[in-house]
Symmetry: C2
Subunit: 223 residues, 2 copies
């Protein structure tokens, strides 16, 4: 499968490298693909990423990633996501977008607030409404990047991940990606309005991160 | 210990009966204590509750409950909590308030939205700011009533509960109550601003309730 990853921070790098390692063809989309040596915060530089991700992966502009991907992954900062997608709009129609972003607003300082949209809608719903040709699935926004692609690092994978979306084919593609990463407890929350609860989980996640002192945790739905 | 429970729905009834069964003296506070046979939604009538809760428990007006309790429990509907507390304000100074309520706003239909307050604050913080003489602890708002008081019903109690508050003595009292119910994984999230994440968990809880078809579930923080 050809994947286009939008966003080259720790989330995009982790997802992109894991997919490339499985043999998929990956373009990691970034704002300025010539700047391979810029610091990427928690992640390494793009030059380091390329060295690790192997022959199935390359770095490109957002538009190259969007054009390449049969399935797209939104790993941009949440408040920038709509603008990034608008810039590649000609490549979106009919494609699945796996949305991992969180609409975290840091303008009021730490901890960030979760932005909501018209009528309390989630960012995922805002993206779906803005780009009706996309088939948006929300998943994986509820935990740290390294666990997204390797859940067995923690409790042998005995914890939960969620998805929601309006399109059955897109959800099946997302589920296939999750199973490829090793997820076994995948909870289908129904349509894309499920993204409201998934995005509003972030304040508790951030608080737990502070208290536990490390991001290597996740929730399990015990039932 | 003398407990005053504010609110006589399923949460207040469950907490009150469990505390009375442990030998504590409980007044279950309600709006009109003479109406013992009114329907209480998911819970039984107050007459049924009295019959089950035994000799340590009685029903009273909100003010009787507030006067009786060394520790108070807020189990009122979230959007009514401040008004109920204002009505019993003369009994609040210096007391611990264990706040289990959720500020669910049903005015826009189902599912309800979670109301937030000035600057994104939680209801628990709003209560603390409005009644500075109280020592507010947020806990137990994250799960269904019967599990609150009997966590061992599910996975032998191997799931998590949280608390946050600004006062160490009040948090110790809440922790003692939780241990009395059988909780073992009690995660202290620090000061009362932790209530933001705990209240914003509700949209995901409500969605899971719909998907799983029953409320007998909880989250476990795997770490």
């Amino acid at each position: 499968m050809n994947y286009g990853i939008l966003g080259s921070g720790i989330v995009g790098q982790s997802i992109g490298a894991a997919l490339a390692a499985q043999g998929h063809s990956v373009v990691l989309g970034t704002g300025d693909p010539a700047r391979l040596d810029d610091s990427k915060g928690y992640a390494g530089t793009l030059r380091e990423w390329l060295a690790g991700a192997g022959p199935n992966a390359r770095v490109g502009a957002f538009a190259e990633a969007a054009a390449h991907g049969e399935v797209l992954v939104n790993a941009t900062a949440g408040l920038a996501s709509v603008d990034v997608l608008r810039g590649v709009e000609t490549h979106l129609d009919g494609k699945t977008l796996i949305d991992i972003s969180n609409p975290l607003d840091f303008s009021g300082g730490m901890p960030p607030a979760v932005r909501t949209y018209e009528g309390g809608a989630s960012l995922a719903e805002e993206i779906q409404a803005t780009f009706p040709g996309l088939r948006v699935v929300k998943t994986l926004n509820t935990l740290t990047a390294s666990l997204m692609v390797n859940p067995r690092q923690l409790a042998d994978g005995d914890h939960s991940v969620f998805l929601g979306g309006n399109d059955a084919v897109a959800k099946a593609q997302a589920t296939e990606m999750l199973r490829g990463f090793g997820w076994t407890d995948i909870i289908d929350l129904g349509d894309l309005s499920a993204a409201r609860g998934l995005e509003l989980w972030l304040p508790l996640w951030l608080r737990l991160f502070g208290v536990l002192g490390a991001p290597m945790f996740n929730l399990k739905i015990v039932r």
